[in-house]
Subunit: 339 residues, 2 copies
């Protein structure tokens, strides 16, 4: 049994789609108990619309809401009764195993570090986003937590990402690539040049060298390591390019009678294809290296993505990802002391 | 009349597609004379396959070829009779107005600075790539020339890019955006935070603030400024995501008889749509801020892209872009001296 605190107030479609996602998750798994954190009236009104196993959904009151535009540090400090702060405190106290939110990234980031806290030895906890590729799915990290990272941070991202992909997603010896502007070792900016030999020297990961951005959608690496500015650009451009291409294709299909008829015929096949390239089916971005699990889903998340983000927590807990990250960091520390 | 030196030996499809592109360009414009630079036998064999106005195509011998894998600095220094060095020397001596190459980016970059030389006052000449958007086309710069740029470089990129978009592409008061991971001024890494107020203070450009990567394919800015690592990631991811989505859609369309019939019907409409999102129709990436014009086209460029890259030089020359860049920088210097 795992207890997942869910921010009922965060995201563009809160609370309705969040509640739907939570209900959907408990219907899919008997192993999950959801603690819906939010404003009583809004949440209970939504809950009334659904039937679900009552013992698997609990309501936790939080009177305040952190808005996207607020300063994250101030919001976390001052809005003690916000859904994000209350939810994270549930993780801190052990009342919940995980916290899922579609709310302010900044507040989740600050709250994760300040309230939930970092695992010993973790320098900077990254956001890891699962992105769809031609071959399946890759983990991109850091995709937004820490700008101006150092090389030692990137090495930890690679380690934590490998553990996640191996044990949560089930990829044997995940290939780790560092985002670069050419394939050769001497290419890159100073951060990449500094990080490359450090990754190469890691015995515990399957480092396969540089990955050019062009290769990311082809599935050129399972764990894609970069600093957060680059990662955020990749993640958002991925979404933007996909959305624009799809909308242009749809518009193109409406341009003549002939293409309109064709469009009707291809609709089911096209839908399946586009679904495979839709980030929402993979759930949210876990913040790795914290004492508990914090998952950030898209602000635009709807039922399915929220549900998948909650289900994802189950594998994370079952596979003891945090324990494995701790072991990996301890082993590294031990090796350094022995050296 | 403009004289364009063309590297007949550079790129994946040299010399055949390069020669085709050159022949196509002179057939389209009486104003262009092409100097085809390369190995005599290979080039003349290709030329024999085409009919074209002989007085508009001249052959210039260059016995060596710089390969993509070579160290750019060494290659430029040692291969004095390579098509890139010979072509750039034609620009330096004034025998050619421009040089177009699909060869090694690194060698073009080094050659541009060392042989053609920077305009007085230009700190770092960037590569500017034209990328397709939902609304038309945007200029992304720097997309690969200078890693680890400083804020003053980015300000110059913004100025030079604005001049290019206004006078070569014909966009009135082009909107300048800086690539960032959020819309607010306080967001970003240290480089962006430092550059933002400098751009805001520029009276001579239409700075519209931060642009998130998601907005780039929507045409959120006409001139998109960033340092080269980020720019290169954007450019390559753009190409990669487009290619993968299109190939997945094609595969999806072949999945059933119904969708196969539909695919036949939508083919013309789909082709038009995808063409609008195809970077090759916009020609190459000019290296801005040099004493002559140097244009880098994709290594994979074929006839049409080569042709467009050559035609683009005509507008560049007619619009006196370099003179305008010089004026802009001189005015800036003057203003600083007066202050």
């Amino acid at each position: 049994m795992i207890r997942v605190a869910v921010d009922a107030m965060g995201g563009d479609h809160a609370p309705s789609e969040i509640v739907k996602g939570a209900v959907s998750a408990v219907s899919k798994s008997k192993e999950i108990q959801v603690l819906l954190v939010g404003q009583k009236e809004a949440v209970s009104k939504e809950l009334e619309n659904h039937s679900y196993p009552k013992e698997q959904v609990e309501f936790i009151q939080a009177s305040e809401v952190i808005e996207t535009g607020e300063s994250p540090v101030n919001a976390i400090r001052k809005k003690k009764d916000s859904s994000i702060v209350v939810g994270m405190n549930l993780v801190k106290s052990g009342e919940a195993d995980a916290f899922v939110s579609a709310g302010s990234s900044g507040a989740i980031l600050v709250g994760g570090q300040v309230i939930v806290g970092r695992l010993k030895g973790v320098e900077r906890p990254p956001f890891g986003a699962l992105i769809p590729t031609e071959k399946g799915v890759s983990l991109l990290l850091d995709c937004g937590a820490n700008v101006d990272s150092r090389s030692s941070h990137l090495v930890q991202f690679a380690r934590m990402g490998s553990i996640y992909m191996e044990h949560v997603i089930g990829i044997n010896k995940p290939r780790v690539g560092i985002v670069n502007i050419g394939a050769e070792e001497e290419k890159g900016n100073s951060l990449v040049k500094e990080t490359f030999p450090l990754l190469k020297a890691c015995g515990d990961i399957n480092f396969t060298g540089s990955i050019e951005a062009r290769e990311i959608p082809h599935g050129g690496a399972d764990v894609i390591v970069c600093e957060a500015f680059t990662g955020n650009v990749i993640l958002k451009l991925y979404e933007g390019t996909g959305a624009v291409l799809v909308s242009m294709i749809k518009k193109g299909l409406m341009s003549s009678l002939r293409s309109k008829i064709g469009a009707l015929l291809i609709k089911p096949a096209l839908k399946d294809t586009l679904k495979a390239f839709d980030a929402s089916q993979y759930g949210g971005a876990p913040m790795l290296g914290l004492k508990g699990l914090v998952v950030k889903t898209h602000g635009s998340a709807r039922e399915q993505e929220v549900c998948n983000s909650i289900l994802q927590c189950l594998t994370f807990k079952e596979q003891k990802i945090n324990e494995k990250i701790k072991e990996s960091l301890d082993a590294k520390e031990q090796a350094q002391e022995n050296a």
